[in-house]
Subunit: 226 residues, 2 copies
């Protein structure tokens, strides 16, 4: 109505599997800007919203175009609309956050234009993107504790240790395996099979239990997306 450009951006979270004796941690892909403003700086993947797609659709499309990623979870984060957040003109950005599985993350071809960074240690980003990532990280960590989004990092079947390591990576602290089991086990269904091969007792495999709703997300449903 008043010459305001509408953009979408997405903070994409994936887990880097743990570098030899270390613990896994949260990484995000960024794209290098190849034009002013902030030419050369790294920024969140995103683009403009077209007239014939919903906001979530626009986020998905931009994600696929810029990073080739298809997330297993996508949720709106916040609408950023300060007047001076872009030096080149007024831009309102609807920002989403997304989770991708480790195998999917590998598809995001690293290159001159796309690179993964540890979410906790970023360089100076374009626009207000540093603050946006911080906020998204806070939401991820907060939501992990009262919902089951951790499963979006994993495949269809997983062990309790897999799931616990996701939590430990996101929260950056070790968790008691015994207590962790008691917290999450009631929300999962065992597949009946176990994983042999380790040099210890084979763990059971579990699966997502669709019939249990752990989060009350209100009238808009599971992903707060109307």
């Amino acid at each position: 109505m008043a010459g305001i450009d509408l953009a979408v951006s997405t903070v994409i979270f994936a887990l880097r599997p743990a570098a030899e004796g270390e613990v896994a941690s949260v990484w995000i892909p960024l794209v290098r800007r190849i034009a002013e403003p902030f030419d050369g700086l790294w920024a969140l993947p995103g683009g403009w919203v077209t007239g014939d797609e919903s906001l979530a659709d626009a986020a998905s499309r931009n994600l696929l175009e810029t990073t080739a990623l298809e997330p297993s979870y996508l949720e709106q984060l916040y609408a950023f609309g300060d007047v001076d957040r872009s030096p080149s003109g007024r831009v309102v950005s609807i920002v989403y956050w997304a989770l991708v599985r480790a195998d999917e993350a590998a598809r995001a071809a690293e290159g001159e234009n796309v690179r993964w960074f540890p979410a906790d240690d970023l360089p100076r980003l374009a626009f207000d993107h540093n603050a946006i990532v911080e906020y998204a990280l806070w939401r991820l960590r907060t939501k992990l504790e009262y919902s089951r989004i951790a499963l979006a990092f994993l495949g269809a079947e997983f062990t309790l240790t897999d799931l616990r390591e996701v939590h430990e990576a996101v929260l950056r602290k070790p968790l008691d395996p015994a207590n962790f089991r008691r917290q999450v086990e009631p929300t999962l269904v065992p597949t009946g099979t176990v994983v042999s091969g380790g040099r210890h007792r084979p763990p059971r495999l579990y699966r997502y239990n669709h019939s249990i709703e752990l989060v009350d997300n209100g009238p808009l449903g599971k992903e707060n997306t109307p």
Copy 2:
């Protein structure tokens, strides 16, 4: 960028003081549409975002213009952007929710164009506004339980009964005065004075304790507004 109109709307909550022997309840002001689409239906107050104001500023300004209200609390709710949510063209709405004190609410002159409705029993509204109000109500009720937004309904000084009645009105259920006191009293500071005049023991007056942060709102601060 693509001919998308950007609007802001606000769900404004106030408490109606309790109609003779009843309990207080949550009401919201709506404005009657005087043009297509949805001509004649009630809708959330709002308007277009101009180029020189932030989203929160736009929300405040539209609120003041359409209802003459100045809220004591304002927080972004969600960005609604489905393609077909307006029959007249593509509109993306950044929706805020607000709390106003009872005395302030009285300033919203009722008239042919502005009227208050009980939030739990609305007529059919324009656009997707029924769903939006439901979502805002859910956020209000959810946030009431882990934050101190209830204070935004009250003045600078209040009794514990005042505060409890706010909670009871929003949650629509009676609360145990003894347990309620223990929950909230540690977060308040007594003024030292009491209110006499009632036909019973005079209650103490309390005040907001600014030094206690009860909600962890993440990097964006208290109102999630960057």
